[in-house]
């Protein structure tokens, strides 16, 4: 069963020099070493933790301007209605997907968001003028405006990559739940991992892959995920698509409406006897 499912999944067109992440939910122990390593290397302020959220051990809640890795804790109970029934935990370190066709980058009116030589998606902090368009454009809710006013998100540790080092999160992860490497190789090992997990009857799937309905015009993710439940359970959209796909058609529809309205306006303003 596992084999046939994988055979149907066409391989996305990754660029050959692309590097990225493979984040495996089945290996995550929720230690948050990635969150801390990211903050330390990128000099990001600590999250202003107030009262505990009550959402399991998740007190960072979401990716944000100063939280570029976020470890989600999801508690699954066998019987929702029974108080005190045993709980199983799902844990996943979420991150910017460094989309092959990135919605944030297409939206950005200043050209602040660029694709690097590593095929990662990078926001130039000195260019961004805080228009905020990338924030609702991202299908995964990743970038946020910082208090200083610029959009911020994971840089895939661009400075470390330039220096030949792997990103801080992957370096810190003690279980290899976060792996860094060439996306083609990560994809292959992700597919192999899915097959292995399915043999053990784990409901495993590779996120960012067409098995799940794919990523539409996004064309694949450079940050792939091994999930052991439906994507929605991890707050990930099952079949995201590139919002800018609509732009040519939406302008065409608007132009058509403009023609009709102009014709109606000319007719309405003619003299009547």
């Amino acid at each position: 069963m596992a084999d046939s499912a994988i055979a149907f999944s066409a391989k996305p067109n990754f660029r050959s020099e692309a590097v990225g992440f493979l984040t495996d939910a089945t290996l995550c122990i929720g230690c948050k070493a990635c969150e801390v390593a990211c903050k330390q290397w990128n000099d990001l302020p600590a999250d202003n933790l107030g009262p505990m959220t009550g959402m399991s051990y998740d007190n960072t809640i979401a990716l944000g301007a100063e939280t570029w890795r976020h470890v989600a804790f999801i508690e699954r109970t066998a019987d929702e209605s029974a108080i005190g029934s045993p709980v199983t935990w799902l844990m996943l370190s979420d991150v910017c997907k460094h989309c092959v066709n990135a919605a944030c980058m297409e939206a950005c009116p200043t050209g602040a968001i660029i694709r690097t030589e590593f095929d990662s998606v990078y926001i130039q902090p000195d260019i961004c003028n805080g228009c905020g368009y990338c924030i609702p454009a991202c299908p995964f809710g990743v970038p946020q405006l910082s208090a200083a006013g610029a959009a911020q998100k994971c840089t895939m540790c661009y400075d470390r990559l330039r220096g030949g080092l792997e990103p801080a999160c992957a370096k810190a992860c003690p279980t290899e739940s976060i792996r860094f490497g060439f996306v083609e190789e990560l994809y292959a090992s992700g597919v192999a991992r899915i097959a292995q997990l399915r043999e053990r009857d784990v409901d495993a799937r590779l996120y960012g892959d067409r098995m799940l309905g794919g990523t539409g015009a996004i064309g694949g993710l450079n940050a792939l995920f091994v999930l052991n439940d439906a994507p929605e359970t991890f707050n990930l959209p099952a079949a995201p698509d590139l919002p800018q796909r609509i732009v040519p058609r939406a302008f065409a529809a608007t132009a058509a409406a403009a023609l009709v309205l102009c014709a109606a306006a000319i007719a309405a303003m003619q003299e009547r006897s």
């Binding site: 989600a72 209605s81 961004c128 003028n129 991890f234």
Partner: protein, 339 residues
Amino acid sequence: MNERRHHAGDMSQSNRRRSAAPTSPASPYGLPVIRRAHWGWLVVVYFFLGGLSGLSAVVAALASLTRGSAASETVRAGRYLSLAALIPCPLLLILDLRKPARFLNMLRVIKLRSPMSLGVWGLILFSLVSGLGVARQAASDGFLGAGRLAAVTRRLPEQTLAIVTIPLGLFLAGYTGVLLAATAVPLWAKRGLLLGPLFLSSALSGSAAAIAAALAVRRPSHGEVTALARLERIATLAEAALLWGWLTRLGATAKPLMSGGTGRAVRHGAAGAGLALPLVLNATATITPAHWRRSLTLIASALTLLGGFLLRYAIVFGGNRSADDPAAAFALTRAEPRR
């Protein structure tokens, strides 16, 4: 950050309330899947004034091209109104940036798939062309004196300016709908093809109403006022049809426009005050004695403009509510083709 903590508080409470009942497996703790824009009142006002400026200029240009001097009052009022609505626009856009001093970074690039990038360039081009049109109008109205400047300005090619103004004005009023459609926000993206046409028709009804009001103050029975009333009626009917079609085709995603403050803005504001009442008032105006006509036209125009403003308020703020709703986001991103 504060907002996020605040939100988390809300979510944990609702989660606690629900904890005994079976919950949907989707979206743990009901957290948003995508993130809302920071856009608020500045953007609402910009959408409103940009539409008004764009289509007032278009109405003036169409009137001058097809009616010539027979519609000179419409042309004059349309051009001055367009200028008045245009002046605050760049300011509103700049103030909405979190780093206003970097506004000029918008002019580093032109990106054909970024409606915001196109919009900034469109606004600049429109300002230049319609600015020349206003200057020419001012010269023939004698506002530029009788010197060299006025003489030169009067030689500007009126027809060419009008022809170029039309597509630029339409673009300024309609691109904002495309800008919203090209996001992951369910309310804006789901039936996004209809947003540009909806904004256009609403801008047309508002512009016709505003120009009609300007003319009616002095001569409520004038033929040009009746012509503008006809135009307003047609645009209002188109807007009503588009709004109804959009809302019904949105299905459950229309929730933010059915409830709360944004819901009231749609029902009482955009539909009630902005569409239904002006249609009735303008119809009444045609059969009432002349001395009532002015008040009826003025009230109808004010209501049309108010409705157009509240429509944009509901769409912008409703979109922000929709971005917070994980169910709406998941409904948009199921494994079927989305539009």
